[in-house]
Amino acid sequence: MSMLGEGRKAKSSPRKTAVQSMEVRIILRAPRASHHGHPASAVKLIAPIVRGFAVLDAFLGQDQWLSNQEIVDRTTIPKATVSRLTRTLTDLSYLTHSETLRKYRLASAVLDLGYAAMADADVVSLARPLMQDFADNNGVFVAVAGRDGLDMILFENCHSSSTLATIGLGVGTHMPIAASPMGWALLAGLPETERSYLLDHMRRYHKRDRWMLLRQRIVEASDQVAEKGYCASTGDWGADITVVAVPLNVEGRLPMAVVCAGSPRLTNRNKHDEQLGRKLVAMVHVLKKLAGAEHG
């Protein structure tokens, strides 16, 4: 059982610790049918839910405070329904009502609608276009990941449009920090005390011999990041695959790492790694600037 943010998991099922390293293959991308195989027309929407969320969405506009009538104007939901919905949402702390203004405003429970889960998604959404360009220009797979307990979790990935090959990793994929190049990059970007704290807890999930090996890789990667800004490795995600990772630290956000992976068959490997690394560091630099500007 890992210890980071695991309290709630403790109740359900113990964490799977069997996965020691990620088995990743280059696979051919299957043509995506529809997004999840359900044609939109088949979904029958539940009207009270649609209306309830439409009321909440009305507060995404310019005005912080809205009266029932203003919500009616913005949503075209009948007034009686709106007053019932605002009352319900106020009872449940999603809205708050000001007696003096006689208007409503968003309240603390809206944080329950996914804010915490997605709080780092704005960095990810800034990253997406940059990542896609990078993937297309360099013919590689690019992903951004963060820490979830002792695992890395993939937030977003982009495939190169020029190659059909892809890494068998998708958004939401977990892999142990200690056994993935992007985990090493993440560790390299953390303050010393925090890194050693995490390492301390990871150790117990790996057999002694394997841990010595991983520990060595982590130290090497950290040295590489200190020296060049990125770490590169070959073979961790498949025999032929080069993986380059860069830590992504944005003020006030979770530490993350950006990783790219490709198969440099035609070029000199060392030169290839170096070029890719430099380009990835440059991309992360741009991303940090964008994210910093957004939140500065």
């Binding site: 929407l45 912080q64 019932r84 000001s98 007696e99 329950d112 609608l113 996914g114 915490a116 925090e194």
Partner: protein, 287 residues
């Protein structure tokens, strides 16, 4: 609406259930059904507890107590609205991007977080700890502000995260600060939720209440997350006053009791007073 479903809605909190029964009597049946449907959708999102991990259909059924069919329909609607997403495997569900925008909007308008942040950050930096401010959300506490000391980069519990009231000192301090009747009500609902662990949990809470009676704060070590340690004080903020809880916590070490009593707790309490002063005249509707 099936009686079982109503029962469950009632279990979500004494406040909700009281208001609910009033509404039930006064309003036509069809109306209360649509209200319940919306509550159910909100409950499904809540079931993720602020975690980006995908959940299976069965897990959602287990966590919410709603029927399989009901979860399917509610989830499909939430996916269409963008509040939920299908996980990449096409089977499980995960939180969608929509909720981020609305949470962001609340926070950027919220006076309490703006006023509290600098005061809390001082405490975090001075003691090298994390400092959080939480409000109650049914039987959970939800963090509306969270400051880390500059030496910790990984936010383990950030803004918007929820913790069960009974498992954290931040929840205990909240329950303690309630008037007796409401406190009983909360304890009753907590017992109902946790079932067989009840007696042990209540014993812990009572111990915390003794501390709160005696010292004005309570502490916990390794309750919700192993290797963590926290001290919490209730604070009444704004006008009319709203009960919130302020805590400071550290990962990986537990200071000795003398240090807590003589250094940490007094400094948390003085931060609490600063918060109370800073917000004494602020209309709490602006929180």
């Amino acid at each position: 609406m099936k009686p079982t479903a109503r029962h469950r809605t009632g279990a979500s909190g004494p406040q909700a259930s009281e208001q609910f029964s009033v509404r039930d009597q006064g309003v036509a049946a069809g109306v209360s059904t649509s209200t319940q449907t919306l509550e159910r959708a909100l409950g499904v999102l809540k079931a993720f507890r602020g975690n980006p991990k995908p959940l299976t259909h069965a897990e959602l059924v287990r966590r919410t107590g709603y029927s399989k069919a009901s979860i399917s329909r509610v989830a499909a609607t939430l996916v269409a609205l963008g509040y939920l997403d299908r996980a990449p495997d096409g089977v499980r569900f995960q939180i969608g991007v929509r909720g981020l925008r609305i949470g962001h909007r609340y926070l950027s308008n919220s006076l309490v977080t703006r006023l509290a942040k600098p005061i809390m950050q001082q405490l975090a930096d001075r003691n090298n700890m994390s400092v959080g401010l939480a409000v109650a959300n049914e039987l959970d506490m939800i963090y509306i502000e969270y400051c880390n000391s500059s030496s910790i980069a990984t936010l383990r519990l950030g803004v918007g995260r929820t913790v069960p009231m009974e498992l954290s000192s931040i929840g205990w301090a909240y329950v303690w600060a309630q008037p007796p009747a409401r406190r009983q009500h909360l304890l009753f609902d907590i017992l109902k939720r946790i079932g067989s662990y009840g007696p042990a949990v209540v014993a812990k809470m009572e111990h915390a209440f003794e501390d709160l009676d005696k010292y004005g704060y309570c502490m916990a070590a390794g309750e919700y997350q192993r290797d963590t340690f926290a001290v919490s004080v209730p604070v009444l903020l704004g006008d009319p006053p709203v009960v919130m809880t302020l805590n400071c916590s550290a990962v990986s070490y537990v200071p000795d009791l003398g240090n807590i009593r003589q250094v940490l707790a007094p400094s948390l309490q003085s931060t609490a007073e600063q918060l109370i002063d800073a917000m004494a005249t602020i209309d709490s509707a602006l929180f």
